[in-house]
Symmetry: C2
Subunit: 233 residues, 2 copies
């Protein structure tokens, strides 16, 4: 927990999209029930099969949503950056979580009880529309991902994962170094391949001059080609 005086400021600055929707009365109710949590690298935020209780708002850091599959093989479903919301779907569907969430790096999150979110939606149709829109976007993305992961070949899947990282987290000030530093295993889990193949295919991309790799630092040299491989590979 951080102290209350700074809390309201943090919230009002960061909750942005949702904040603009709420009335001052509703905002107070959020502030009164907003609890800040800090998570260490790789710490689980919630796990599959648990009952959903909170709307999570990522304030700082990076979060992955994933599903453990056959033989412990993990599939990363979505990545979150500040300020984004997650953890609400299962509550709305009236079922336990079907996926887990974990912090990729040291992260700060806010938790709002879903019971409160439900009340707020009941009283504010703009908030209802916010979630309808959010869920609809994610559903479209998920449907598209099904085809990408099942039909694209390994190069296409890796290229797609890299473009996803670009679109989600962007570049450092040099405009070419990816602003996320993932283990090869996580890159593999994002692209539905084994770690070996993620490494192998990254190497191919390096030798083709598409990227430069230095440990976990990935520089994108030929972004148009990367997107082309993602699209047609």
């Amino acid at each position: 927990m951080i102290k209350k005086s700074t809390l309201e400021k943090v919230i009002s600055e960061d909750l942005a999209e949702i904040w603009a929707i709420l009335t001052s009365d509703e905002k107070r109710r959020v502030v009164d029930n907003f609890v800040i949590h800090n998570f260490k690298k790789n710490q689980i935020i919630y796990a599959e099969n648990e009952e959903p209780e909170f709307l999570w708002c990522l304030l700082k850091g990076k979060v992955k949503m994933f599903k453990d599959g056959i033989g412990g093989r993990q599939q990363i479903l979505r990545l979150y950056r500040p300020i984004q919301y997650f953890g609400y779907r299962a509550y709305f569907a009236k079922e336990p979580y079907v996926s887990s969430a974990a912090a990729f790096e040291i992260s700060t999150l806010g938790a709002i009880p879903m019971t409160l979110v439900k009340e707020l939606i009941d009283g504010n149709k703009n908030l209802a529309w916010f979630f309808i829109h959010e869920l609809s976007k994610h559903l479209g993305g998920s449907d598209t991902k099904i085809v990408n992961l099942t039909q694209k070949h390994i190069r296409g899947r890796l290229a797609e994962a890299l473009t996803l990282l670009i679109d989600n987290y962007g570049f450092e000030d040099d405009t070419e170094t990816l602003k996320i530093y993932m283990a090869r295993e996580d890159i593999a889990n994002l692209s539905n391949m084994t770690t070996s193949n993620a490494i192998r295919t990254l190497s191919s991309f390096v030798s083709e001059g598409i990227i430069i790799v230095d440990g976990r630092r990935i520089k994108v040299i030929n972004e148009p080609l990367l997107r082309k491989i993602s699209k047609f590979g």
Copy 2:
């Protein structure tokens, strides 16, 4: 178009879930804007990249929602039965369709303009909750499908497809013949495999006494085993 006198009866009987939510005034607005369409076998209802205009309500028949992928390979994303709604996601996401819908067999559908649906949601929070719940369920299903299709082996994927057909359409009166008669190609498109492999694997299931196949008629003999293969295979 069918004649108006029977129309209201059809709607009130069939729209069930949504109908119960609406006030009599709202119901009248739906009836006034509800247009019945008949579709032939394999006829497209809407196609990827088109702009969404209508909420579709399947009254009679069977509908598949699918996405065309690499090399024209089709992935079936969801199947609908009466009375279910679809076609609204893209409108809510404010984007063109990312998938297509087609009738599996001769089907009757009702179309309601999304502009009207939007107005109804604005005025009726229960309807908002209906869609939040619906979208949330589908998103969970889609995320689960990603892992099932990418990580399960061919037998597991086919077994899963068959159990999906059981759960969606059930059995004929003999309690073992599947109430849907799909082409092998469609079974393949549902299970992310080639037609050859769908045929081959169906044959394996036959020789293992799990199912009996007679043309497009599939009898499920050992449902528990089928579900077991679906879960662990």
